[in-house]
C-alpha cells in the first residue's frame, strides 16, 4: 500500500500496556470533587512517573522512553479516555513544559533537568498567558531585564497548569519591547524555589478540576543567565513550537475522550430497552452514533498523521538538522486542524452521549456529566478554536489554494 497508516507492534504493545496500567491503577483513583479546587491526583501522577509515562517522547539518553510523539499521543489518547484532568496535567508537563528543554536546551540543560522530569521525580509547567495576553500571545508584558549574570523578571502569568507545584517552568518573557515577537521575547527555565517567584491564585474551574491552574507572580525574580532556553530573543519560536506540537497531544486526548463517550453511548444503547426493544435498534440513535463514529475515524487519522509529522519536526530541531519550511507548514496546518476538529468533535460527543443516556447522564458523579464539564476547556486552551482557524486561514490564503 502506498500510504500506510498502521501502528508498529511496539506501538500496539505500548497502547495495550498503557491501557492496562490506567485501568488497574489510575481509573480507580480518579476522584470527582465538586467543592473547592478539586484534588490533585498526586498518587496517580507518581504511578505514571514510576512507569515512565511522564517522559514518553524524550530520548532514552535523557531518561525518557524514546517512543516519539506518536508514542506520546497514544498515551494522551488513553489518558483522555480515563480522566481529562490527568491528561491535562501530563500534557502540560510533557508536551509544553519539558519538550522545549529537550528541543532548545543546551546539552548541560538537558542533562540537568530532563532525567528528573522524564521519570516524574519532578514536574514541569509552561507559562505564557497573561491577564492581557491570551490569544494574542505577542502582547505579553512580563519583562526580563538583564543585570549582570541574571535576568530580573517582573510580571504575572495566568492559567498555568501545574504552576502551583511544578519544579521547573518554561517561562516566556519580553526581553526587548522594541523588537516585539520577532527577537524581543525569551524563554527561561525557572526553578520553583527561585527568589521572587510566588504562586498566586489557584483557579476554581468548571471542568478539569483536578488539574491545578495557577497564577504566577514574579517580583524582582532573579533567573541566572544559564537558564535562557535556546537563546535570547528566540522565546516566541520556543513557545510556539511547543504549542504547535502540543496540539497533537491535545488532539489525541480529546480523541480518547470522544471514543470513551461513544463506547458509553453504544453500551447504553445496547443494554437499555424502550418498549421492549434495545435503544440501539432505533434509527435516530443509530444516526447519532454513526455520525460520531465517522468523525472519530477522521480525527484518528489526522491526529496520528500530525504526531508523525511532529516527531520528524522535533527530531530535526533537537539534533540541529535543517528543518524544511514545508515541514514546518505541514505541522502547523495539521496540528491546528487536528486540534480544532478534535476538540469540537468532543463537544458533539458529549452532547450525543448525554442525549442517549438521558436522565441518568446528569446524575451526580457520573462519568458523562464529568466529561461534559471537562470537555469545554479543550476548545480554549493551547490556542482557542478561533486561533486555530486563524492559523489555518493564514496558511491556505498564503498558498492561494489547496494545490
Amino acid at each position: 500500500m502506498a500510504i500506510e497508516f498502521t501502528f508498529t507492534p511496539q506501538q500496539e504493545l505500548f497502547r495495550r500496556s498503557v491501557r492496562k496500567l490506567l485501568r488497574a491503577e489510575i481509573a480507580p483513583r480518579v476522584v470527582v470533587e465538586k467543592e473547592g479546587h478539586g484534588v490533585f491526583p498526586s498518587e496517580a501522577v507518581r504511578i505514571l512517573g514510576a512507569h515512565g509515562m511522564l517522559g514518553v517522547p524524550i530520548p532514552r539518553e535523557y531518561g525518557g522512553a524514546g517512543l516519539g510523539e506518536v508514542g506520546y499521543c497514544i498515551l494522551a489518547e488513553e489518558l483522555g479516555r480515563v480522566d481529562s484532568s490527568l491528561a491535562t496535567i501530563a500534557g502540560a508537563h510533557t508536551s509544553i513544559g519539558m519538550t522545549p528543554i529537550w528541543l532548545f536546551g543546551t546539552e548541560e540543560q538537558r542533562r540537568k533537568y530532563l532525567p528528573d522530569l522524564a521519570s516524574g521525580r519532578k514536574l514541569a509547567a509552561f507559562a505564557l498567558t497573561e491577564p492581557t495576553a491570551g490569544s494574542d500571545a505577542a502582547s505579553i508584558k512580563t519583562q526580563a531585564v538583564r543585570e549582570g549574570d541574571h535576568f530580573v523578571v517582573n510580571g504575572r502569568k495566568l492559567w498555568c497548569t501545574n504552576g502551583d507545584r511544578a519544579d521547573v517552568i518554561a517561562l516566556t518573557c519580553v526581553t526587548d519591547p522594541a523588537l516585539g515577537a520577532r527577537g524581543g521575547v525569551t524563554t527561561f527555565i525557572l526553578e520553583k524555589d527561585t527568589k521572587g517567584f510566588a504562586v498566586g491564585t489557584i483557579e476554581d474551574k468548571l471542568g478539569i478540576r483536578n488539574s491545578s491552574t495557577a497564577e504566577l507572580i514574579l517580583e524582582d525574580c532573579r533567573i541566572p543567565v544559564q537558564n535562557v532556553l535556546g537563546q535570547v530573543g528566540l522565546g516566541f519560536v520556543v513557545a510556539l513550537t511547543a504549542l504547535d506540537g502540543g496540539r497533537a497531544g491535545l488532539a489525541a486526548g480529546v480523541l480518547g475522550a470522544s471514543k470513551e463517550l461513544l463506547d458509553i453511548g453504544i453500551e447504553y444503547a445496547k443494554s437499555r430497552r424502550r418498549k421492549g426493544e434495545p435503544l440501539a435498534n432505533e434509527q435516530s440513535i443509530q444516526w447519532r452514533l454513526a455520525d460520531l463514529a465517522a468523525e472519530i475515524q477522521v480525527a484518528e487519522y489526522i491526529t496520528y498523521h500530525t504526531a508523525a509529522l511532529v516527531e520528524e519536526y522535533y527530531h530535526r530541531l533537537a539534533t540541529g538538522a535543517h528543518v524544511p519550511e514545508t515541514l514546518r507548514e505541514q505541522v502547523s496546518m495539521n496540528a491546528a486542524s487536528a486540534k480544532v476538529f478534535g476538540s469540537e468533535m468532543s463537544g458533539r460527543a458529549t452532547e450525543t452521549t448525554l442525549e442517549i443516556l438521558g436522565a441518568s447522564s446528569v446524575l451526580d458523579r457520573n462519568r458523562v456529566e464529568q466529561a461534559w464539564r471537562d470537555q469545554i476547556i479543550s476548545e480554549i486552551y493551547e490556542g482557542t478554536s478561533e486561533v486555530q482557524r486563524l492559523i489555518i486561514a493564514r496558511e491556505i490564503l498564503r498558498k492561494g489554494g489547496t494545490q
Partner: protein
C-alpha cells in the same frame, strides 16, 4: 523407573501402555483392555471431601451405562476399617493403601502408588476432584501413564458406544463452553469442579468390596518437605464463589443484617450498593461497583437492589443471579436468572429459614 528410563522422550511414551501384569485382573479387563471407573478419594482433616462423593455418584451412573464396576481409591491410615462403607455412596469396590506414611497427602508417594495401581488394574476412567490435590495428582499420574487429562470439568457426559467420557468445561472467564475427551489413551482422566454434581442419597448398609494394596516404598524419593502448616489464606472479594449484596430495598439496618446472615449461610461475600453505604448500613469498602470490581462469582444474590448501571456492570458475568425485589420492573430483573417478587426483608427472613432447615447431613469417615 530408573534414572536411565527417566530420560528420553521416547521412553516416557513407550511406558504409556505398560505390559499387562497378570495380577488379579479379575473379571473385567482382559489383557490389553481397560475397564472400570475409578474415583480418587481425598480427605480433609480425616473427612471425605463431599466433592469425591459427588464423583462417586456420577461414576456409578457412568459405570452402570458401561456395564462395568464403580470403584474408589483411598490411601491413609486406618482407612481399611471403614472403606467398605463407601459402598453406601455408590462404590462397588474400594482400593485401599492403609499405612501411616500415606495419612498426610504427599504428591510423589501418592502419584507413584496410584500410577502403579492403575498400570496393574487398568481402569478406563479415572476421576479426581478439581482441588489442589486432585489437579496436581491427576496431572502427574497422566504424565506417568502417558495419557490425557481434562481439567476443571463442570460436567461429564458419556458416549457409551465409544466408551468415551466427555468433559464439559467452561473457560475463558465463563465465556466458552468446551467438550473435551481423551479418545485414544487410557485411562481417560478428568478433574471435576466441586459442586458440579449432587451427592447421591446414601444407601444404608450397602458394602463395597475392599481390596487392600500393599504400600510400596516410592521409587522416587519424597521431594518436598513440609516445615510447618500455615493458616488458610483470607479470601479476597474476587475469590468468593458467591456474593450477596443488599441495597436500599431491604429498608432497614435489620434487613441489611439479614442479608449478611444469608451471606454467612452461603459462605458468600457480603456487599452493598451505593444507597446502602450512604445509609450507613455498610462501610464504603463493601461497595460493589464497576469502577472497583469486575466480579465473576458463581452465585450473586441481590437483595432489595434496584440495579444501577454501575452495579449491574460489575456483576454481569456472574453465573447465577438471584434477585429479591418488590418491583418486577426494576433494572436488576433484566440481569437476573431467578427473581423472587416480594418485600425483600421478608423474603430474606423466610429464605434463611428454609435454607437452615434443609441443610443436609455431612459425611464423616466412620470411626
Amino acid at each position: 523407573m530408573s534414572d536411565a528410563a527417566m530420560g528420553g522422550f521416547l521412553d516416557a511414551y513407550l511406558s504409556q501402555q505398560a505390559e499387562a501384569t497378570e495380577v488379579q485382573v479379575a473379571d473385567e479387563a482382559r489383557p490389553g483392555e481397560w475397564r472400570t471407573v475409578w474415583t480418587w478419594i481425598e480427605r480433609v482433616d480425616g473427612e471425605v471431601l463431599p466433592a469425591c462423593l459427588e464423583l462417586l455418584g456420577r461414576g456409578r451412573e457412568i459405570a452402570g451405562e458401561l456395564g462395568t464396576r464403580n470403584c474408589a481409591v483411598v490411601f491413609g491410615q486406618g482407612v481399611e476399617a471403614w472403606a467398605a462403607t463407601l459402598g453406601e455412596h455408590g462404590a462397588d469396590r474400594v482400593y485401599v493403601i492403609d499405612a501411616p506414611e500415606y495419612e498426610e497427602f504427599q504428591l510423589d508417594a501418592a502419584r507413584e502408588a496410584l500410577a502403579g495401581l492403575v498400570r496393574e488394574r487398568r481402569p478406563e476412567i479415572l476421576l479426581f476432584p478439581a482441588t489442589i490435590q486432585g489437579r496436581n495428582l491427576g496431572a502427574q499420574v497422566a504424565t506417568a501413564l502417558g495419557t490425557g487429562i481434562v481439567p476443571n470439568c463442570n460436567a461429564l457426559s458419556l458416549d457409551a458406544n465409544e466408551r468415551l467420557v466427555i468433559g464439559h468445561q467452561t473457560s475463558f472467564e465463563e465465556r466458552l463452553l468446551s467438550d473435551v475427551a481423551v479418545p485414544l489413551q487410557r485411562p481417560q482422566i478428568f478433574t471435576v469442579t466441586p459442586g458440579s454434581y449432587r451427592r447421591p442419597g446414601r444407601e444404608s448398609g450397602r458394602q463395597a468390596q475392599v481390596v487392600a494394596v500393599a504400600a510400596t516404598v516410592p521409587l522416587r524419593p519424597i521431594q518436598t518437605k513440609t516445615i510447618e502448616r500455615a493458616p488458610d489464606r483470607p479470601k479476597s472479594l474476587s475469590q468468593f464463589d458467591a456474593v450477596v449484596a443488599a441495597g436500599l430495598g431491604v429498608a432497614s439496618r435489620d434487613g441489611f443484617q439479614l442479608a449478611s446472615e444469608l451471606a454467612a449461610e452461603l459462605d458468600a461475600y457480603a456487599g452493598a450498593t451505593r444507597g446502602a453505604v450512604a445509609c450507613g448500613w455498610a462501610g464504603a469498602d463493601r461497595l460493589i461497583s464497576v469502577t472497583r470490581h469486575r466480579l465473576r462469582p458463581r452465585l450473586y444474590v441481590a437483595c432489595g437492589v434496584v440495579g444501577e448501571y454501575d452495579h449491574l456492570k460489575a456483576i454481569e458475568n456472574a453465573d447465577l443471579v438471584l434477585a429479591l425485589t418488590d418491583d418486577a420492573r426494576a433494572p436488576i430483573v433484566e440481569s437476573a436468572d431467578l427473581v423472587g417478587i416480594g418485600e425483600p426483608s421478608e423474603l430474606l427472613r423466610r429464605l434463611l429459614d428454609h435454607l437452615r432447615r434443609a441443610k443436609g447431613e455431612r459425611v464423616r469417615s466412620p470411626p
